[in-house]
Amino acid sequence: MILTELKKGEKATILNLSRTTKLVQRRLLDLGVTEGEEVCYKCALPFGGPCMLEVCGQCIGLRRNEAKEIQVVRT
């Protein structure tokens, strides 16, 4: 499944990040977000706005269309 299909507050493990934009991939890697990390989908802003995630003990904001490219599996 993909990240944005998770419900608010649900947790999942990242399976695949490689379909996101290169630049985003690099930033996510900088923040320690890689395959195998646990992610919590916290909320999304309206009209296709960005979403908020909690990964590796920190909160990050990410565009929804990028988040849609991230594959996860529920834990």
Binding site: K22, R26, L29
Partner: protein, 66 residues
């Protein structure tokens, strides 16, 4: 009278000084805010290089495998 002359010169002198200093400061442009001014003077590339990287950047990101 003497007081007026001295006072007038003081005020106009101060005014001229502040304006010239302001213009000089504003004009410094490229490295005005860069605190390592000396290093920049010796090596102009230090500051301008950053702009160059910026130009190459989109390319760099596209080419790179992650």
């Amino acid at each position: 009278m003497l007081f007026s002359y001295i006072f007038g010169i003081l005020i106009f002198g101060y005014a001229a000084w502040t304006i010239s200093r302001f213009i000089k400061k504003s004009k410094q442009g490229r490295c005005a805010t860069c605190a390592l001014q000396k290093a920049c003077e010796q090596k102009p590339s230090t500051c301008s290089n950053v702009v160059q990287i910026q130009k190459n950047e989109p390319q760099l990101i596209r080419n790179q495998h992650i």
